[in-house]
């Protein structure tokens, strides 16, 4: 038989099979549901606000803090060194390179736990590694980091370290978020430029 007919039959068959596969596999969860559920039920998916404050103070480059609130809410106030990926825009392919990194931990936060948990489940379901949620969100950050006060008579070295960590994070938060919008924009543009230089990208 003519080889062309054989190849034609093969291609038609494969085409029919492909037609039954999901249209865009990259946008469906890659993890199996029971595995995703097991990870979701684990407490290991959480970072406390103190851990995030420590990452901010030490400028930890292995941590990427991601604000999933709207652009307007992010501009109003945000955790220093965080980047804004609004939850509504999470499926934008532009964010894949940012989110899908093996050596960087993604820590999601919103005002509470709901939006960050949505984002965590979607990103983890897509198969991206190292995802975490800042437990309690920005509400917890305010009550623990911004408004914490020590009221005891004696302070242990561990407590002292914890309060110093919070104090430094509070200063950084207040300093960045107190800037007028024009300066804030310049600051974020400069930061983005520095980041692109570090990544070896162009301006």
């Amino acid at each position: 038989m003519d080889a062309r007919i054989r190849y034609s039959v093969l291609l038609v068959g494969v085409g029919i099979i492909l037609a039954f596969l999901p249209f865009d596999a990259a946008q469906t969860f890659q993890l199996k549901s029971d595995e995703l559920l097991t990870r979701s039920a684990s407490e290991e998916m959480y970072f406390s606000v103190d851990q995030v404050a420590r990452a901010v103070n030490s400028e930890d480059s292995t941590v990427q803090i991601i604000d999933v609130r709207s652009v307007a809410q992010f501009r109003e106030c945000n955790i220093p060194s965080s980047i804004n990926i609004p939850f509504d825009d999470l499926q934008n392919p532009l964010w894949e390179a940012t989110l899908n990194q093996k050596k960087v931990k993604n820590i999601f936060y919103g005002n509470g736990d709901q939006t960050a948990s949505y984002a965590w489940t979607i990103v983890t379901g897509l198969g991206y590694p190292n995802n975490f949620v800042m437990k309690g969100g920005l509400n917890e950050w305010f009550s623990t980091v911004m408004l914490s006060q020590y009221s005891g008579e004696k302070i242990t070295p561990a407590e002292n370290a914890r309060f110093e960590n919070r104090l430094n994070a509070r200063k950084a938060f207040t300093e960045i978020n107190s800037l007028p919008d024009s300066l804030k924009t310049r600051f974020f543009n400069a930061k983005r430029l520095n980041q692109s230089k570090l990544d070896g990208g162009c301006n």
């Binding site: 093969l10 559920l37 979701s40 106030c77 005002n111 939006t115 949505y118 979607i122 107190s178």
Partner: protein
């Protein structure tokens, strides 16, 4: 018949591929929906219900308590069941969820648990799943940032 014999290798390959596709797609643990559906459903909190909205539902519904604490007092026990979050997708529980008549209302005092469960169920194709927010909007910022008007960054940082 001769033509069929000549094509047998091609047909064999197609049959093997077809079997692989069927096996893959019949795995109950695989997600098949696009994440877009989950993101769109959360816009304007259209996937959440308050206690008032729950009371006003006209069709049948069932509250599934996936948390560790009890249901809010106003939720009638006969309209509820308890399934621990970590066992949500056990074969028996999955069947129970599939057989629920009407809306499936997920409740947990920890809203993060209900949110994760909702995304998983949504992506598994449960179109009738909602989250019960018994304590108001969990994404409301309860604090107002007070800027320090004297703060200035060092020049070299901008």
């Amino acid at each position: 018949m001769q033509q069929f014999k000549n094509l047998k290798f091609v047909i064999l390959i197609i049959v093997v591929l077809l079997i692989l596709v069927i096996v893959r797609n019949s795995d109950q643990n695989l997600f098949k929906k696009d994440i877009k559906s989950a993101i769109e459903a959360t816009q304007n909190n259209s996937n959440t219900l308050s206690l008032n909205q729950l009371r006003q539902l006209k069709g049948p519904w069932m509250v599934v308590n996936i948390g560790n604490s009890d249901l809010p007092d106003s939720v009638q026990v006969e309209h509820s069941m308890k399934i621990p979050f970590e066992n949500l997708l056990d074969q028996t529980n999955r069947k129970i969820l599939e057989e629920v008549n009407g809306d499936l209302i997920l409740y947990s005092a920890d809203v993060a648990t209900a949110s994760k469960a909702w995304v998983i169920l949504n992506q598994m194709g449960f179109k009738n799943a909602f989250i019960l927010n018994a304590g108001g909007n969990p994404e409301e910022l309860k604090y107002k940032f007070q800027p320090d008007t004297t703060a200035r960054l060092e020049q070299d940082s901008i």
